[in-house]
């Protein structure tokens, strides 16, 4: 028989206001095995924990039940306390009488009754608890960063600087992400390339960083400290070890009609191309969909042009397998497609553009060489209308419900830069709210209004229509309570941003969470913002939620710190609550193997002694280092052979019985 102590926490008034804690403490003494009970204002405080420790020592407790908040909050606290005075930590159970009881009930009688039942269930479980010992597993001292935007670059640099190896896997031919496409950056208006390219170069030059560009992670197996990733390096059809990045081939290539992704399709590139001048790594890449050699078998000009003999039309995709201790997701975002926003005429009218397109137009390396010219007739626009919240904060199927967070600031930036360079241009900004929290952000926006005379109009734009070479913009000025009509030369849409389309696939591959908008979910929105709920998987940058560069970089460094903390350990403690199959009951049916999301189950042939009958049987065997204790196999097993330590079928049934008693 166990000697169990039951401790009821008031949680100030959080629990005590709805649950009669004294009654629960008294009721506990009637439960089998319970030799002691107590209640206290804050059980998690040092003195509360002291109460538990003293009772363990003085009453010789073999099991502890704490009736308090969710085990997510303080299970670890009380287990540590128990361990410090010699009790196996897995002999401690939490009955959640706060989230599951006091917070959702108003009536004290009802709340107390339920608290007693929850206490009873936990006591019933502890009566069957057994001491468990956590195993250890080695940590591979290398990190994988998926995505090479500013988030991935910063995370990788910080990890590398701490002395650990990092691989960046970037799906595009170059790292840099969206920031490489920006012209100037708020709130300081420094040139994006000037602050980004040194970091790109640092990453490439760092002896601890390896960049797999034009590559994707195909699969990941394993667990925290010991992941194995398969990386597919797509064929560039150019040998990286020979290409010098001279770009001669790109000049000679006769196929020049492919929309240039880097310039948002506003000009074209050749079939063999280098994304932009500061690309890292700077190797040419052949786009087989555009290359004449791939289409017709002829041409071959680039191969002949290249002095370095780097072109290789027969190059194949390569798959590389590497081991990692930690993985950081930094897959960033894209601007949403605007096909479904007919009211703005984006698809019909070349002079209705997105803000990202405007970044390219304003950039010296962009399609117009940095001159502000509208796409249709390459004339200088005299009147420009910006429309905010396009696709953000809406509830139609084409809308995103969230605020994209960065557009208020970048529009203020665009408006200001235009007024600075072309004071003859009239600039209107239609807004619903102007959201500029952030250091020096409000001041930045007010400068656009007060110093640069940008006209901010409170209201949305309902329609943009072609009208005699101009764009007739129908907007509302809510402060006047009137509709207003502006004949503009250029309309710029602050389109919503959304996670990269690969986010869902990545989340599934890493068995980590994703929200309804496909942003990866952090383990705790306030207290664990850069960790995912899956151990060893971390989040960096916009893949977790909309962010500007300052925020992205802070989060990237925070994720790096978490990775470094993990890689600094030689071994990590495993979860001892793992599955185990009873070799006498297992009939080797493979049901469990099929449901295990972590691939922890294999089958072995083993000689068993079944009541004196010795025979070799095929039985399930769980790799304890890989098993995450999800319990899927225990449910799938038709013969009841699979059991989860710490959550055995017997324990769960005892809890159910106690509740139904």
């Amino acid at each position: 028989m166990q000697r169990i102590g039951v401790f009821i926490c008031w949680c100030g008034s959080n629990i005590a206001a709805t649950v009669d804690v004294k009654k629960v403490a008294a009721a506990a003494l009637n439960e089998p095995g319970v030799v002691f009970s107590a209640d206290y204002q804050y059980m998690c405080s040092a003195s509360g924990q002291g109460l538990v420790k003293d009772a363990i020592r003085e009453k010789g407790l073999t099991g502890v039940v704490v009736c308090s908040c969710s085990p997510r909050m303080h299970e670890a606290t009380f287990r540590k306390a128990a361990e410090s005075c010699g009790l196996n930590p897995y002999m401690v159970e939490i009955a959640n009488i706060r989230e599951h009881c006091s917070w959702i009930h108003k009536d004290v009688a009802e709340g107390t009754e339920k608290a007693v039942i929850l206490m009873r269930a936990a006591v019933a479980k502890v009566n069957l608890n057994q001491s468990l010992v956590a195993g250890k597993s080695d940590v591979v001292k290398r990190a994988l960063v998926i995505g090479g935007g500013i988030a991935g670059i910063q995370t990788a640099l910080d990890i590398a600087e701490a002395g650990y190896e990092v691989d960046i896997v970037e799906k595009k031919p170059t790292i840099g992400g969206k920031m490489a496409q920006l012209d100037k950056t708020f709130p300081t208006l420094d040139c994006s390339a000037c602050i980004l390219t040194p970091k790109m170069v640092d990453a490439a030059a760092h002896d601890k960083i390896k960049i797999y560009s034009y590559s994707e992670v195909e699969s990941v197996s394993g667990f925290v400290g010991n992941f194995t990733a398969k990386i597919r390096k797509k064929a560039r059809f150019v040998k990286e070890d020979l290409c010098t990045g001279c770009g001669l081939c790109t000049e000679k290539c006769p196929s020049r009609k492919t929309p240039n992704e880097f310039n948002e399709g506003m000009n074209t590139r050749s079939a063999i191309y280098i994304p932009f001048a500061q690309a890292v790594p700077k190797y040419a890449v052949i786009d087989p969909a555009a290359c004449l050699h791939f289409k017709t078998g002829k041409c071959g000009l680039c191969e002949r042009t290249c002095d370095a003999k780097a072109v290789d039309y027969n190059q194949k995709d390569e798959t590389i397998e590497r081991k990692y201790g930690a993985i950081v997701v930094a897959t960033g975002y894209n601007v949403i497609k605007l096909d479904n926003f007919g009211e703005y005429g984006y698809t019909e009218n070349p002079d209705v553009i997105t803000s990202l397109e405007l970044e390219r137009i304003m950039n010296a390396a962009g399609p117009t060489g940095g001159a502000l010219l509208r796409p249709s007739d390459k004339t200088h626009p005299q009147k420009i209308v910006f429309v905010q919240c396009v696709g953000s904060r809406g509830q139609r199927p084409c809308d995103k419900p969230y605020c994209s967070k960065i557009c208020c600031m970048y529009t203020a930036k665009h408006a200001m830069l235009i007024r600075e360079k072309y004071p003859d241009t009239e600039v209107y900004v239609f807004y619903i709210d102007v959201r500029t929290p952030g250091k020096n952000f409000e001041e930045f926006y007010r400068r656009a209004v007060e110093q640069y005379g940008v006209h901010y109009v409170k209201g949305q734009v309902g329609k943009v229509a072609e009208n005699a070479g101009k764009l007739r913009v129908y907007g509302s000025d809510l402060l006047m309570n009137e509709q207003i009509v502006i004949d503009a030369d250029l309309v710029v849409l602050a389109a919503a941003i959304e996670p990269d389309e690969s986010a869902k696939k990545i989340a599934t591959m890493l068995t980590t969470g994703i929200d309804t908008n496909n942003f990866l979910t952090e383990a705790h929105p306030k207290l664990r913002p850069v960790e995912s709920a899956t151990a060893g998987i971390f989040l960096s940058g916009v893949c977790q939620g909309p962010k500007d560069i300052p925020e992205t970089v802070s989060q990237a460094s925070a994720a790096a710190v978490k990775v470094i903390g993990l890689l600094a350990k030689d071994q990590i403690t495993c979860n001892p609550c793992v599955a185990r199959s009873d070799e006498l009951l297992c009939n080797g049916c493979s049901s469990c193997e099929k449901v295990c999301p972590y691939g922890a189950i294999t089958y072995i042939d083993k000689e068993v002694n079944d009541h004196g009958k010795r025979e070799v049987r095929r039985i399930a065997s769980v790799n304890e280092a890989v098993c995450q204790g999800c319990g899927a196999c225990t449910v799938a097993c038709p013969s009841g052979a699979m059991d989860l330590k710490g959550f055995t079928n017997k324990q769960i049934m005892a809890e159910v019985d106690a509740i139904c008693r």
Binding site: H455, K458, D477, L479, M480
Partner: protein, 128 residues
């Protein structure tokens, strides 16, 4: 002077920079004569900035302002709406033959309870 020149002139003589306004409405919230005014302090600021001065000139709202300076006192951006209203008033009274109070009308409006100060201020407000 056309309307936009007039608006510029109002800003110049009042010294008010309408672009500083945040559109918070605190001036109007503070105005003790709200009920009596067709347009309110924040509207003076907005109208003048955005080309709707004609509406202010057609209204008697400027003359309903009591020049109590509550809006000036409370505006978080130091816009000073009352100064702008005063400039609108000046613009109106400087228009020829637009006097609203003639000296010989005062006699019949005199009232024993009316402080002399009010008469003087009414003269200032309603005549050149």
């Amino acid at each position: 002077m056309d309307l936009s020149e007039q608006a510029e002139n109002i800003k110049r003589i009042s010294g008010v920079d309408t672009k500083k306004c945040l559109r918070c409405g605190k001036c109007t919230a503070s105005c003790p004569n709200y009920e009596d005014m067709e347009y309110h302090p924040h509207q003076f600021v907005y109208f003048i900035e955005n080309g709707y001065l004609d509406r202010l000139l057609k209204s008697d709202a400027a003359f309903r302002c009591m020049t109590c300076f509550a809006c000036v006192e409370r505006c978080p951006r130091d816009v000073k709406p009352a100064k702008l209203i005063e400039a609108v008033r000046l613009t109106l009274v400087r228009q020829k033959d637009s006097n609203r109070l003639k000296p010989y009308d005062i006699i019949e409006n005199l009232n024993a309870d009316l402080p002399q100060q009010a008469i003087v201020s009414a003269m200032r407000k309603y005549t050149k």
